[in-house]
């Protein structure tokens, strides 16, 4: 458990240091995610009992929990949102839908030439608890 947590925190720390030193406009954890990906690829060990994977999968199964404090902040802006409800709601939903469709359709066009490759694990509907 602790070893896995150390790896996650270590990658976040390294990512944050890199952001501080280089000034790239990305959050430290996102850079840390790329670093952990590199670590996992170089290590080539993926047993179910691996501490990084155990701890990481547990964190991911409760990802929504960690957004709650920031999400409650929405209520602090209800007045502004109410005053400009029409442009906010339409622009929010409209640009989301257009972006979603653009990415999905463009990628679908490309992927006709890249087969979905081997393996059946991760078929739709598989639950992570």
């Amino acid at each position: 458990m602790i070893v896995g947590l150390l790896w996650l925190l270590g990658c976040q720390l390294a990512g944050t240091v890199i952001v501080e030193l280089t000034g790239i406009p990305l959050p430290g954890p996102v850079v840390g995610m790329l670093l952990l990906f590199i670590v996992l690829v170089l290590r080539r060990r993926d047993g179910e009992d691996d501490p990084i994977i155990q701890v990481g999968d547990y964190f991911l199964s409760h990802l929504q929990l960690f957004f709650i404090p920031a999400g409650v902040g929405v209520i602090a802006y209800l007045a502004i949102i109410r005053d400009a409800a029409a442009p906010i709601v339409v622009a929010l939903l409209g640009s989301w839908l257009l972006g979603l469709a653009t990415v999905g359709w463009v990628l679908t066009l490309f992927l006709r030439r890249v087969p979905p490759t081997v393996g059946t694990d991760g078929a739709p509907g598989e639950e992570i608890e």
């Binding site: 954890p29 929504q64 957004f67 409650v72 502004i80 442009p87 622009a91 972006g99």
Partner: protein, 225 residues
């Protein structure tokens, strides 16, 4: 006292949301949304300010960092599927980021929203820390843009899989990338429940979209704002 009180309330509200989700089996009952409503109501009833609540729950918001790092794990499981995907994903994400930013700005403008609101809407598709940073640089309301990002993430968690099917997007890789591109971590949390492939590609798209948006936003702002 208030630290442990609000930590308990937040985790309990989340658990209630999970129970509701399991009970109703409805994608509309997203635990994060249920918890925000419950906590928001309790803050209003008890007369607690949001700043006090945010201070009390820094332990929970801090864990978002290691959880974001952990998104490398589903991506690693899909590493064999990444071959030949890099260029298509980057092209799709670039197109999506431009469409999302430009349509967000123009829709606010056409519906009579203010200039500050246009600047706040521009980068709301990316993960909240990046939205805050980019919106501050652009001259919008940083915290409001974070609120937009969270609301759109929750909407995506509720409806994205169904909308993708209606749009005829069935390849799990394309579904994952599309959600991660416009709905960051909260959308990714839902896609992780859908399947390993969709979750992994959603996490990947979330990270890359942040990079692409950082690079493109100055150009979009120069042309439109």
């Amino acid at each position: 006292m208030s630290v442990i009180l609000w930590l308990f309330v937040t985790v309990a509200a989340y658990e209630l949301g999970r129970w509701l989700r399991a009970r109703t089996r409805s994608p509309l009952a997203q635990p994060v949304a249920v918890a925000i409503v419950i906590v928001g109501a309790l803050l209003a009833v008890s007369g607690t300010s949001y700043d006090d609540y945010a201070d009390a729950t820094t332990l929970i918001s801090f864990l978002l960092g290691p959880a974001t790092v952990a998104l490398a794990i589903p991506l690693y499981h899909q590493v064999s599927r990444l071959k030949g995907m890099v260029v298509p994903v980057l092209v799709a994400l670039t197109a999506g980021a431009v469409v999302s930013m430009v349509s967000g700005i123009l829709l606010v403008r056409w519906l009579g929203g203010s200039d500050v609101l246009e600047r706040t809407m521009a980068s709301k598709a990316v993960t909240t820390p990046v939205t805050i940073e980019l919106t501050a640089r652009l001259g919008g309301y940083p915290e409001l843009s974070a609120a937009f990002a969270i609301v759109i993430g929750i909407v995506a968690a509720m409806v994205a899989p169904r909308v993708l099917t209606l749009l005829g997007i069935r390849d799990p890789r394309a579904r994952g990338v599309a959600v991660g591109a416009v709905s960051h971590g909260i959308g990714t949390a839902r896609m992780l429940e859908e399947s390993c492939i969709e979750g992994a590609f959603s996490g990947l798209a979330m990270g890359l979209t942040a990079v692409v948006t950082c690079l493109l936003l100055p150009l979009v702002a120069y042309l439109l704002l």
